[in-house]
């Protein structure tokens, strides 16, 4: 083939034109394209980038494809480099955007954590306050209970004291009254025992021998006794009849019962409630003296009025 001078001129013109206009695929552009490919690859490989910066990644891809396309068909080197540069920068922007999203997520997580901690703290404080309040309340309750207990103890002590005082006074009064009864009747003896005051009346004063009817001379003693019982309406009495050991035990038993009942009947007749009076006979039992002597027998023949101590 012959060398065509026209073609030579044309080729040199084109070459010089390409060089001056920068349309040649320069090593600089080649390097930039490599950098762009690498940057795009690392961005595209990151799932976080695909998730949080898809638009930026797409624009990087577009620029890279444009650069590749131009490089392939021998497009202007300047434009290859330019598009490759844009692809690289956009890839970097996409990577940074993904990093921003990650940081934002970690801020949100930390914020959530902080809220959780704060909530926990508030709950803990509330629980502490509740506990404190409960303790305070319990202390108040305990103090109140102690106060009430002390009060009731004091009241009880006071009550006991008053009761004792009252009882003392009552006992003293009763004793005085019994003593008065005793002093008014020559044949009545009073003594204080575990069972209470016991007034002892000789049978001779109240009854004829062998009988259970009250003698007229007994009226005064019965009046006094009835007055006493009227004055102390809370006190019940027991009337107990006794005999000496002379004669039949059965007869003595019956006689002592009848006599006790006679005394009770006389007191009831004087307005004393029959339920307050327990009358019973013991015959010769419980002698207070020897039945061997007349004096002893006389002492054993008796009626005892037991005044309920309570």
């Amino acid at each position: 083939m012959r060398f065509n001078p026209k073609l030579t001129v044309l080729a040199s013109l084109v070459a010089s034109c390409l060089v001056t206009s920068g349309c040649a695929f320069s090593p600089h552009a080649s390097q930039q394209l490599d950098d762009a490919r690498a940057a795009y690859r690392s961005a595209a490989a990151d799932p976080a980038v695909q998730a949080s910066a898809p638009a930026e990644l797409k624009s990087a891809q577009d620029a890279l494809q444009e650069a590749e396309r131009m490089a392939e068909k021998g497009g202007p080197s300047e434009l290859v480099e330019h598009n490759a540069y844009l692809a690289e920068q956009r890839s970097r922007i996409a990577l940074r955007t993904a990093e921003i999203r990650r940081s934002e997520a970690s801020i949100a997580a930390a914020g959530e954590e902080r809220r959780r901690v704060q909530l926990e703290a508030r709950e803990r404080e509330a629980a502490a306050a509740r506990e404190q309040a409960e303790q305070a309340q319990m202390q108040v309750r305990q103090a109140e209970m102690a106060r009430k207990e002390a009060e009731s103890r004091a009241a009880m002590l006071e009550h006991e004291r008053l009761e004792k005082e009252r009882l003392g006074t009552a006992q003293a009064e009763l004793g005085a009254e019994v003593k008065r009864l005793e002093s008014e009747l020559a044949d009545m003896r009073a003594k204080q025992t575990d069972r209470g005051w016991i007034l002892t009346l000789k049978n001779e004063l109240l009854f004829d021998a062998g009988g259970a009817s009250l003698k007229p001379g007994a009226q005064r003693a019965l009046d006094n006794l009835a007055q006493f019982l009227t004055k102390y309406p809370d006190r019940d009495i027991a009337i107990e009849g006794f005999t000496d050991s002379t004669g039949s035990k059965d007869l003595n038993q019956q006689l002592s019962e009848k006599r006790a009942w006679s005394v009770k009947a006389a007191l009831v007749a004087r307005g004393i409630q029959s339920t307050r009076i327990d009358a019973r006979g013991y015959g010769p039992s419980f002698p207070v003296a020897s039945n061997e002597t007349p004096t002893g027998r006389q002492l054993n023949r008796r009626v005892e009025i037991v005044i309920d101590p309570s």
Binding site: P5, K6, V9, L10, L13, V14, C17, S21, C23, P76, E78, L79, H82, Y85, L86, Q89, R90, R92, I93, R96, T97, E99, I100, S103, E104, S106, I107, A110, G111, E113, R114, V117, Q118, E120, A121, R124
Partner: protein, 120 residues
């Protein structure tokens, strides 16, 4: 040498060169670049100064190319300035967000430590 036969070729080359260049001023690209540099400046000034400086330099060169009527060159510089400014903004924003993430984490840690101190 037959001169007239060469003319069509030269015309073709001239046309091809003309096709390489954009004849209209790249107003849209310039506007986008200016806007992005303005947006990036307040944040990137502190946290991405290098990236911002690069964007600003390219924008300045684009402006100069516009003045000279080198529109294709201006378009390329403007597009790159926009990308640089956006990267500057993104880098700065990333720094800012990471800083506040660290702050929130520190606060949370401090809070938790305080709670644990109180709770014991």
């Amino acid at each position: 040498m037959n001169r007239p036969t060469l003319t069509p070729f030269i015309s073709a080359v001239a046309l091809a060169l003309a096709a390489c260049a954009t004849t209209d001023p790249p107003e849209r690209e310039m506007g986008a670049a200016r806007a992005m540099v303005s947006q990036a400046r307040p944040v990137a000034d502190r946290d991405a100064p290098q990236e911002l400086a690069q964007a600003q330099q390219k924008l300045a060169r684009a402006e100069a190319a516009m003045q000279r009527g080198h529109y294709e060159h201006a378009r390329i510089l403007a597009e790159q300035a926009e990308a640089d400014a956006k990267l500057a903004w993104t880098v700065a924003e990333n720094v800012r967000v990471q800083r506040s993430a660290a702050q929130v984490q520190d606060e949370t840690r401090a809070l938790r430590e305080e709670m644990e101190r109180k709770g014991r």
